[in-house]
Symmetry: C2
Subunit: 197 residues, 2 copies
DNA sequence: CTTTTTCTAGTACAGCCGTGCTACGAAAAG
DNA sequence: CTTTTCGTAGCACGGCTGTACTAGAAAAAG
């Protein structure tokens, strides 16, 4: 067989090109032409890997989810349960350039859902994963068995974190995010304190 | 002078056409042609009122904010402060078709921000208004003077409500939103209970 | 009536879009 | 070597885009 490229690497390269364009020029500027140029390949090569624009966007969304998920899984254990929970929650907030870009991409792709229905499914699946994670964090902090209250607390944590994430995204890149991380820490502290009751 | 139309009514008519297209086919389908057709006018007439696409989108966003704002201002007083606060917060959640559509429009227009910078300004202004509203609700519930803790509680309420709003939006239109309204009510109850401490 | 101005209707243009398609080069397999 | 296959390069097509422009209909003002 003839020369072969690393398809996975090529796909990632193109997905990252999508991300850059979304962040810099918005989802409206994402076309097969702009993405190919941004990735430094010709349109024919892009279409050799992603035959349609929809497949390109779907993969870009999935890879963004995967990257974020990997970052959370890589969270190092901490001695203090509260500190460990806080580290996980921090990964759900757009505090670093990477996670900030991922959230921008996330919102942009959501706007594209009506055109590319699978994006809605990817979003729902990722939302569910974050919700499960939040519930696990509550379980971990309170050391309670998973009951109705745990689920409610998990859902609240999820809503709070997503709301904070959104608000952080709409403030300047260099603004101080302490108010948000403080609120998150407060919530986790409150959850941990309620473990005995 | 010659025949004149009600420009404000025409603008509203066109903005509502934008909303319908955003909800049904996404922001990507919003063009001067599709909007004109949806509104039942020809492109020339649309451009007579909105010379550019950007102006059309800006007005659509502003009108959506205005409509939501008016709905909140029209909230009838209730005997119970908690009930009154709850009624206001309910208006911030996408529970009715109208408010649901507004939130979808909101997210869609955000995705256009890089192309139409003024949309970002409109978003920031509206966010600030909601934040002020949340702080006022906290003040009202706790009957405390506005101090650091009031501001933090207000920001927390804002984040929680926006997070719930987003999660409600991503669940089916006919799903039961009780879990979200219950969480909101719980939060308000907690705030009211903390008024004496 | 005529004049004046607003609004409608439609054409035209340059440009980008996704996608289909062909032609060619490079490298592994025989 | 030749053959076979993958990847690259790029052209072409129909369609949609925002915007500029003209021509005429409609109605108020004189």
């Amino acid at each position: 067989m003839p020369r072969t490229i690393d398809r996975d690497a090529r796909k990632a390269q193109l997905a990252e090109a999508v991300w850059r364009i979304v962040v810099e020029r918005g989802i409206g500027a994402v076309s097969v032409r702009t993405v190919a140029e941004q990735a430094g390949v010709v349109v024919g090569s892009l279409r050799h890997v992603f035959p349609t624009r929809a497949e390109l966007l779907e993969f870009s969304a999935e890879l963004a989810v995967e990257r974020a998920s990997a970052r959370i899984r890589a969270t190092p254990q901490a001695d203090d349960p509260l500190e460990y929970a806080f580290r996980i929650v921090r990964h759900l907030l757009p505090l670093e350039p990477d996670s900030r870009a991922e959230l921008e991409i996330w919102i942009a792709l959501l706007a594209e859902s009506p055109v590319v229905p699978r994006l809605a499914a990817i979003r729902d699946e990722a939302n569910q994963q974050v919700e499960d994670l939040c519930i696990q964090v509550v379980e971990f902090l309170t050391a309670r068995p998973r009951d109705e209250r745990t689920l409610a607390d998990g859902r609240r944590l999820h809503a709070l974190v997503d709301g904070l994430a959104f608000h952080l995204l709409t403030q300047p890149r260099d603004a101080d995010p302490a108010w948000a991380t403080d609120l998150a820490r407060e919530e986790l502290t409150r959850l941990a304190a309620a473990s005995s009751s």
